[in-house]
Structure formats: structure tokens, C-alpha cells
């Protein structure tokens, strides 16, 4: 038996999926979830073979939920209308169902997944690329979701003080402390508003609104001093870039 979970905040949207699923006796529905938080728990608990995932859901959307999953499962997205999401799906050949969809369309999507199931590796790769594209949606551009001690925290981007590279992670510094996120610096550089966030160094991105002053440092280096007192090193190009944004 293959394990399936459904994550959608509308009960009727779940029930139509359950109805259509009956045509596939080899698929067993192990849980239905109301939102991303339940979904995340269910994914951890069941390690499902296939997940049907809605995009627009309470608090965190489907993409953000996937970002937080340690091992993203194989996903068939179900959504009503979301041009950004659709663009992301099309770019990365992940299957998606546009609501309302027919039994035939559903069968095709599931069959396609059953046929290409052995190549799980490629699936994960494309999911990663998909999330990268999806991060450009307006909903996600103004917040970052992180997991801390099993809890999910939503950080509005204006609360960021600075970002610091930390091995395979990025350390996100805010007033409430620092959080780790499994992403690259160049991902954040692309994703954040370049007029508010400047890559001042290979390992640092700074929120310019947090800067109180710039100080010379050693021979010809510079430091940015933040409101909270942190000292952020500036590389030569970073210093030039920062001055351009600040209009100096």
C-alpha cells in the first residue's frame, strides 16, 4: 500500500479528492489535514508516498510548508487560481490540478506519478527548484518562515536585522534572536528587496534601516554599526554597494 495525505483547508475540496482516490485501491489515505501545521506533522509522522497539497491556506501557504519539511514528499498541487504558483509548476514540471478538476484529470496526474515513481531523486530536485521559484510570489516576499524547537515562526522581513552565512545555513538575526534557515546567501540576495537589504560582504546581508553609522576599520576596511550594536564587516565592493543604496 502507498500512503497518501491530503492537505487543504476546505473540507469539500478534501472530500472530492477522497472520492476520486477510491479509483486507486493501491493508494491508502492515512490522514487529511486542515492546514500547513497539521500537514507538517502528518508528513513527519507518516512519511507519505504522495501528498495532495493546496497553496492558499491559513497562516502558512503550501510552499512555505514544504520549505519547512525536512524531507519534502512527492507532491501533486491542487489550487484554484494562482498565477505565480502556476508559473512555478510549469517551470519545474511538477504536476498540479486546477480546481475544479475531473476524475479523468485526477487519474492522469496520479498515473503519471505512479509511472515515474522509481526516480524519486529527480522529484526532490525539481521540488527544490520549484520552491525557489515560488519564493518570488508576493505572499512570500514579505515574510520568512522558520522552524524553531519544533515550532513554526513567521518573521516579517522588516523585522530582519541582518543575515549571516553559517555553513549550509543562513543565520537570520532579529530582535527576538537568531534563527537558522536551510538556504543560501544568494537565495536571500535574490529574494529580498535590494533597496532595503544589501549584501555588504560574502557572508552578510544587512537591513539598511538598522544601520546607525559606518566606521573605518583597520587599514582601509569599514564596519556598519547597527541599532542593536552589532558590527557588520563590509567588503570593498559591499561598501560601494551600501553607499550607493544609502545615497552617499
Amino acid at each position: 500500500m502507498l500512503k497518501v495525505i491530503i492537505i487543504d483547508d476546505e473540507p469539500l475540496a478534501r472530500s472530492i479528492l477522497i472520492e476520486y482516490l477510491q479509483k486507486f485501491p493501491e493508494l491508502e489515505l492515512v490522514q487529511e489535514c486542515n492546514d500547513g501545521f497539521e500537514g507538517l506533522k502528518a508528513i513527519m509522522q507518516w512519511q507519505p508516498d504522495l501528498t495532495f497539497l493546496d497553496i492558499q491556506m491559513p497562516k502558512i501557504n503550501g510552499f512555505e510548508m514544504l520549505e519547512l519539511a525536512d524531507q519534502p514528499p512527492a507532491v501533486i498541487f491542487t489550487t484554484a487560481f494562482d498565477e505565480y504558483a502556476i508559473r512555478a509548476f510549469e517551470a519545474h514540471a511538477v504536476d498540479y490540478l486546477l480546481k475544479p478538476f475531473s476524475q479523468e484529470r485526477f487519474n492522469r496526474a496520479v498515473q503519471k506519478w505512479l509511472d515515474q515513481r522509481p526516480s524519486v531523486q529527480t522529484k526532490n530536485k525539481s521540488t527544490e527548484l520549484l520552491l525557489e521559484t515560488a519564493a518570488q510570489t508576493p505572499a512570500q516576499r514579505n515574510r520568512i518562515v522558520v522552524k524553531i524547537a519544533g515550532k513554526i515562526k513567521i518573521i516579517p522581513v522588516q523585522d530582519l536585522e541582518y543575515l549571516e552565512a553559517a555553513d549550509d545555513y543562513v543565520k537570520i538575526h532579529t530582535q527576538d534572536g537568531a534563527f537558522l534557515k536551510n538556504k543560501t546567501m544568494s537565495f536571500f540576495e535574490k529574494f529580498l528587496d535590494p533597496l532595503q537589504f544589501v549584501r555588504t560582504h560574502r557572508s552578510y546581508i544587512v537591513n539598511v534601516q538598522q544601520i546607525t553609522r559606518l566606521e573605518p576599520y583597520e587599514k582601509d576596511g569599514h564596519l556598519a554599526i547597527l541599532k542593536n550594536g552589532s558590527k557588520i564587516p563590509l567588503s570593498k565592493t559591499g561598501y560601494v554597494r551600501l553607499k550607493a543604496v544609502l545615497g552617499l
Binding site: L12, S15, P100
Partner: protein
Amino acid sequence: MATTPLSTNKFRFYFTVSWLVWSMLHVGVLVRLGYPLKTALLDSLVSNLLLAAAAMLVINNLRYYLPRKEQFAYLLLMCLSVSGLWLLLSRWAMMLVYRIEDYSNYSASIPIRFGGALLIIGCVMLVSVLWYTLDEQKETERRKNESERLAKDAELYKLRQQLQPHFLFNSLNSINALIGSRPEEARKMVQYLSDFLRGTIKKEENQFITLAEEMEYLNLYLEIEKVRFGYRLVTEIDNSEESLQCKIPSLMLQPIMENAIKFGLYGTTGEVKIGMRARVVDNYLVVAVMNPYDPNTQMQEGTGFGLKSVKRRLYLLYGRNDLVEINITKDSFVVVFKIPDAHA
């Protein structure tokens, strides 16, 4: 705030020219009466500089308080008192220069001086009142135009919103699910959806409708959302009989309600209770819409338009900024708006 006539070059030019002519007449009269030129010039300069100051005082005063039709007594009173004040001041100033016995006929000329000042101040006052009234009319006209434009924008926005693909396709998806399991309900939902869509098309702009009519339309929307979200969406509507008969601008309540539902459903998890309460208080229709709120959720963009446009429209309709109030507490978000002249 209106601009003063003094800020336009044309007015300043006429003001200065008239002032010069009047001052010269003043000198001329005194010289013909046999006073030395020096005395005549000085008298004219002192009196008329003060007169100009009095005129400017009147112009500025009217800028902040423009009497309505019935209050011309106020204008007359102001005219008399300003002229009187001017007379006292100019007499005092002249006495600083000449002792009264050296300028013996000054007292005799007081009635003439007072009359002249009264005439001039009166003229300035009339011109100002005319100026500010026209200015106010222009402002009202401008506000009316903008209000119409905004109603049109709201209409377009509403069309986009309600015909908003997300809402429409999700509702169709719910109907699709109901057809298999509960066909009776599917049929009901099709009816709600059609009535609702018809309502979005036929509404006329800038029209006042009763709260009862607006509620009828709103209920269709709520029914559809309740079918979609099941037990999660709970509404608690408490409108007094009196309030239902009040007129409100169409498309005013709906964006607020929609905002509350979206905010509630996508900003929090679990049951979402949307509350609405309408009452008539001191001849105002007061409507409060409440939704649960989680300050830790950064809301998605595009949810603010509804509220902003409501605020703007109320300003344009009534010229007041204090008709919308937003109260945010730890777990709730309440929008309160007031419509003046509830029984009009």
C-alpha cells in the same frame, strides 16, 4: 484649508493699487483743508497702514470662520468692531506724533474717518466672503468628483474581487464535491453563487441603499463561504431593527466584511468567528465588524485596499476623517465606521 486671496498676485496688485489711491485721496483732502503737506502725509501714512493691517486681519479671520447664510449679523459686528479698533489705534498713534492740541481738528474728523474705515472694511469683507465661498464650492465640487471616481474604482475592484478567480473556482470546486454526495446542497450553492454574481453586476454607483438590502447581498456571500469552509467559519450578526432601515452608501460594508473574512480565515487557524453589530447612536449609524487576529502572522499583500478605499470614500462623501476607526487587540481586529444622518 482654503487659500487666502492675499496669496494670489492679482489680488495683491489690486489691494496695493487701491491702498495707494485711497492714501493719496486722504492726503489730498487734508491739504485742501489747509493742513501742511507734512502733516497730511504723516496722517495718511499712519491711518492707512493701520487700515491695511485691519483689512488683512479681516481677510485672515474669515479664512478660519466663514459665517453661514443666516449669520450676517456676525459680519456687521465684526465690521463695526474692527473699524472701532482701528480708530482707537490710529488716534493713539497720531497722538504719539502730535499732541492733541497741536492737531486740534482731529476729534472733529472722527465720524468721517470712522465712516470711511467702515466702508473700506465692509468692502474687503464682502470680497473675502465671496472669495471663500467660491473656494469652498470648488472644493465641494472637487470632492464630489473624486468620490464618484472612487466609487467607480470600488466597483471595478469589487468586480475583480468577486469575480475573483480564486473565489469563483473554489466555489465551483465545492459544488463539484457536493454534486456527488449531497446534490440538494449543490443546487442551493449554485443558486447562491448565481444570485451573488448577479448582484455584483447590477449595482449602481454612488447610490444609497438600506442596510437591510446590503445585508441580503452580504448573506449570499457568507452562505457560500460557509459551505466552503464548513465549521471553521462562524458568523454572529447583531443588527438592531432601527439600524436595518438606515441608508448606507452601496459597496461600503462589503469590502470590510470580505476583509474580515479573509483576514480571519487565512491569518489564523481553527474556528473563525466574524462578528457584526449595527446600531443607531446619536443619529449616527454605527457598524462594527470584528475578526480574530494573530499579530504574529504577517498578512499577505493586497488585503488593505478594502479598508483604505472605505476610509477615502467616507471622507469624500462627508468631508470627515473620523468616521472609520480600527481597534487592534491581542487577538481581535475591529473596524468601526459611522454614517452620519442615519435617518436621512
